[in-house]
């Protein structure tokens, strides 16, 4: 069993992991197409597609409003909702059996979960945990932000800094570990079943990746979104 090295593209001094970028753009394309499909011809009495879209938006509206209050919640709804939908589809992306395609010199990699590359959870955590910090600066001012590191008393400064680091590490590695672990388990089951030949059952990884992709992936997407909202709302919302 070997893991193929990722395809790398170098532009200037930066290295791009072309596989992940490709898979992420596929996720985004599917999401955009779905959104366009579900909301074409909006009517007052919703059809089936529109009802599904309205259900997703309403559920999330309630969640976001509960954490941020009605004034802040509405502007933040598209941001948080997009994060959740993106994560759900990303975590479940391994279940689409699209192989690697090569046409001439163009290589289209196989469809894998983009979140199994640590760069993606790290970027999302930077965006959303960092967004919470920016929101704190905006709502309490720079002095209030600096002062929050010395609360409740001055000696808590190291603890507060450690908390900031811990939030970031735990939220990003939770997503990465779960998705990567599920993908590794599915690929090992697949390899084992093909290699052993006692049980020639290559389809065994379909239920396994369904479990890890759909169920665990959905739970982890929800946990990531809820945690991002909780961290941000604790910082922003004043009691």
């Amino acid at each position: 069993m070997e893991v193929a090295p990722p395809l790398l593209i170098r532009i200037g001094r930066l290295t791009y992991q072309y596989e992940t970028v490709y898979v992420m753009s596929m996720v985004m394309l599917i999401l955009i197409a779905l959104a366009a499909f579900l909301t074409r011809r909006l009517t007052m009495v919703p059809g089936r597609a529109q009802a599904a879209a309205e259900f997703i938006v309403e559920t999330f509206d309630e969640l976001v409003t509960q954490s941020f209050g009605s004034k802040l919640g509405r502007p933040l709804l598209p941001w948080m909702g997009t994060l959740f939908l993106f994560l759900v589809l990303s975590n479940a992306f391994g279940i689409f059996p699209v192989p690697r395609i090569q046409i001439g010199w163009i290589v289209l990699p196989a469809w894998e979960e983009p979140t199994r590359n640590y760069m993606v959870p790290m970027t999302l955590a930077l965006l959303f945990v960092g967004g919470g910090h920016i929101g704190q600066v905006l709502s309490r001012g720079v002095l209030g932000y600096i002062k929050s590191y010395f609360e409740p008393i001055v000696f808590f400064f190291p603890l507060n800094v450690a908390t900031v680091a811990a939030e970031f590490i735990s939220i990003s590695f939770r997503l990465f570990g779960n998705v990567f672990g599920g993908a590794v388990i599915a690929s090992i089951a697949f390899n084992l079943m093909v290699n052993i030949r006692i049980f020639p059952m290559p389809w065994i990884n379909i239920p396994i990746s369904m479990f890890f992709g759909l169920f665990v992936g959905l739970v982890q997407a929800f946990v990531f979104t809820t945690l991002a909202m909780t961290y941000a709302s604790v910082k922003i919302v004043e009691e």
């Binding site: 590695f173 939770r174 990567f180 672990g181 090992i188 084992l192 290699n195 665990v216 739970v219 982890q220």
Partner: protein
């Protein structure tokens, strides 16, 4: 240093030790959790004999989830026996460490999962009309308990399939210690979070049975509490990955 034949013998010995660690430890927790679930289900059936069917189904699903740790430990043990072939000392030590990680974290995972499903059985016996909602909460909570175990399983797989080789120098001892450390960190580190997350999930199931109208709020707060309880397992995972690849 040892010569090739001696290393082969030591590798065999270490491999069987790894099998024993994985399966022996891994069998403990699942059994305790499943027994606890069955006990609570029997208590519930004594209280509500008419709800026997639903309780029995919940017990079976909960026990199947609690079995996960045992099944994965068995899986690792079979891989260690038949598939893995440590020709080098470093690889053999990595196998032992991987077996320990999956086995020891399995103890807590089985207990945590069993706690969730036993509380779900108890709550369902108390409030038979919440059974669908209760099943969903139980599965969500158990999926969260699994994730600490999944980190341990990931580290185990990386240790076993890492393809570690001897360099032939005295540095091999350092590498052995490094891989041993990765397995120990993850095996111990996943233990507490699994039980803690299981307690949070179990009490959430009990709360949903008592106050059905608050189930949305309870589920959301359950996820936040679990995520915080779980973060120490994530620190262990980070340290294990650093030990494996970055040092």
């Amino acid at each position: 240093m040892l010569d090739a034949a001696q290393i082969e013998v030591v590798g065999e010995v270490l491999r069987y030790i790894a099998v024993a660690l994985a399966m022996g430890f891994g069998a403990i927790g699942s059994a305790v959790g499943e027994g606890h679930t069955a006990g609570m289900m029997l208590g519930g059936a004594a209280r509500q004999p008419s709800e026997y069917g639903g309780l029995f189904r919940t017990m079976l699903i909960g026990q199947a989830m609690a079995e996960t740790a045992g099944v994965f430990a068995l899986f690792i043990a079979i891989i260690l026996i038949w598939v893995s072939d440590p020709r080098t000392l470093v690889a053999a030590v990595a196998n032992v460490s991987g077996g320990f990680a999956v086995g020891f974290s399995g103890i807590a995972t089985g207990i945590g999962m069993g706690y969730v499903s036993s509380r779900a059985c108890e709550g369902m016996a108390r409030q038979p009309e919440v059974s669908d909602r209760m099943m969903l909460s139980m599965l969500l909570a158990q999926a969260m308990v699994t994730s600490a175990f999944m980190f341990a399983f990931l580290v185990t797989v990386l240790l076993i399939f890492g393809g570690f080789r001897d360099t032939g120098s005295f540095n091999d001892i350092v590498h052995c210690a490094k891989y041993m450390g990765a397995g120990l960190a993850m095996g111990f580190g996943a233990c507490g979070p699994a039980i803690g997350v299981g307690i949070a999930g179990g009490e959430a199931c009990r709360g949903i049975a008592a106050h059905q109208e608050n189930s949305g709020l309870l589920t959301r707060m359950m996820f936040v509490g679990m995520a915080v309880a779980q973060s120490t397992a994530i620190y262990s995972l980070v340290i294990s990955l650093i030990l494996l690849y970055a040092v």
